[in-house]
């Protein structure tokens, strides 16, 4: 099927989503570590529009955006470990919730991390509201994909390690086990799956990644004033 490369870094959860998918499918790949403060010519060539990671390079062609890469991987390596549900309606639900995760859950978590003072409390409430909706989605199921993990589990997967890192950097708690018992339980099952566990970075790396990002944003804000 041709060599597979992933441009990215394993402290970035959109990149790890891709690694999880490849691992579950049993696809061999090479990671090309990127330095986001000094992007490689290869990254700029393969993703000229957004200049972001992850980029999957397969048969010398790039695929960008983690959600698109997951579907691509599922379509190319069809015969092992299906990620998307079979039924079109279930597929549409998975895509809907994946969008919700990236556009709402992730964004509000970051907002809460960045916010200070009064705004922080408001941002924390907003982030928790998005987690409530995810909590409802996992009701009655072991995984979002059913009995086995699937596409949506990989998309939500960042909450098992990166959300605690965001909480640490932001000095707040979002996903506590008493408010979100089902989601918390899900993280415990998800993180113990070998293919998932193998790709997790050390927690300090994720903390460092977000702290560096936050410091950078704050320095930008300071220079604008």
């Amino acid at each position: 099927m041709g060599g597979v490369k992933v441009l990215g870094l394993n402290s970035s959860f959109p990149c790890v989503r891709v690694l999880w998918a490849l691992k579950l499918k049993g696809v061999n790949y090479e990671i090309v570590e990127e330095n986001l403060l000094n992007k490689s010519p290869l990254l700029l060539q393969m993703n000229p529009i957004h200049k972001k990671v992850p980029v999957l390079i397969h048969k010398d062609k790039p695929i960008v955006e983690s959600l698109l890469i997951l579907e691509y991987i599922d379509e190319v390596w069809k015969t092992t470990y299906p990620l998307m549900p079979e039924d079109p309606y279930d597929c549409s639900m998975a895509r809907f919730w994946a969008k919700f995760v990236d556009e709402k859950v992730v964004v509000t978590a970051f907002e809460a991390m960045k916010s200070e003072g009064e705004g922080k409390e408001v941002a924390i409430v907003a982030a928790k509201e998005t987690l409530e909706l995810l909590e409802k989605q996992i009701e009655g199921k072991k995984f979002f994909g059913g009995d086995e993990i699937g596409y949506l589990d990989l998309v939500v997967g960042w909450i098992c390690l990166w959300l605690p890192a965001i909480e640490q950097v932001g000095g707040m708690k979002l996903l506590d086990s008493s408010t979100f018992p089902l989601l918390y339980q899900w993280t415990q099952c998800f993180v113990h799956i070998p293919a998932i566990h193998e790709c997790l970075p050390p927690r300090e790396k994720a903390v460092d990644y977000f702290q560096t990002g936050l410091n950078y944003l704050r320095s930008l804000d300071a220079s604008k004033k």
């Binding site: 529009i49 397969h58 048969k59 062609k61 695929i63 960008v64 955006e65 698109l68 890469i69 579907e71 691509y72 379509e75 190319v76 079109p88 309606y89 597929c91 549409s92 895509r95 809907f96 969008k99 919700f100 909706l133």
Partner: protein, 222 residues
């Protein structure tokens, strides 16, 4: 047997129009449920409790929300004619460009439309940069989808009528035929396609509506 299909939409929503276009191309009959976004119906809140927005497609009573998700659902259930390419790489590209439209082109166009003076001038540059990418994508093709209208064309369908309406209101050329010859041709081809053409909402109503929207934004500007 006719499918049990209902589309909750407003008369003008460009996102809802995507679904209208897709259903028409697939030759599917459906019932329209017109919504008023200033007074959302109990049904809308029931079927789209998360975003409370249109469009919502109801198929056998089950709701599908978010226009691009709906397009993929329609394409998965009713396979002919196909909207997305079969090849996984081309499919990924079609999805990528649709996302690019929603994440970059639409918001930047909106920024140009809802601003004036220096703010507008500053917004035009980034908008033009992104239109260049679209122009590049149309080289050697009639449509983004190739020889026939596909998923990406439908995703950009809002440009088919809205661009000229916005241009008329702000008296500014957004898609200049000289700078963007292929995109200009695409806009006309898409807009005039016999299947697409019948679906456009009344132009005078659209001009009136968007004039009001622009005025509201300009009033609110600092």
């Amino acid at each position: 047997m006719a499918e049990d299909l209902k589309l909750m939409r407003t008369w003008s929503s460009p996102y809802a129009l995507r679904v209208v276009h897709a259903l028409k191309i697939k030759g599917l009959e459906y019932e329209t449920v017109l919504e008023d976004m200033t007074k959302k119906s109990a049904s809308l809140l029931e079927y789209n409790p998360v975003h409370k927005k249109v469009p919502v497609l109801l198929h056998n009573g089950r709701p599908v929300c978010e226009s691009l998700v709906i397009l993929e659902y329609i394409d998965d259930v009713w396979k002919q004619p196909p909207l997305l390419p079969q090849d996984p790489n081309e499919k990924a590209m079609a999805r990528f460009w649709a996302n690019f439209g929603d994440d970059k082109v639409m918001p930047l166009t909106w920024r140009v439309f809802t601003s004036e003076g220096k703010d507008q001038e500053e917004a035009i540059g980034p908008m033009m940069e992104n239109l260049k990418f679209l122009e590049e994508q149309l080289k050697g093709k009639s449509f983004f989808g190739g020889e026939a209208i596909g998923y990406t064309d439908i995703a950009f369908g809002w440009m088919g009528n809205l661009i000229s309406i916005l241009e008329e209101i702000i008296d500014l050329k957004l898609v200049d035929e000289e700078k963007f010859p292929l995109l200009s041709v695409w806009i006309n081809k898409f807009s005039d396609d016999p299947v697409i053409k019948e679906c456009w909402p009344p132009r005078d109503k659209m001009v009136e509506k968007f004039k009001v929207i622009r005025e509201r934004y300009l009033k609110q500007a600092p």
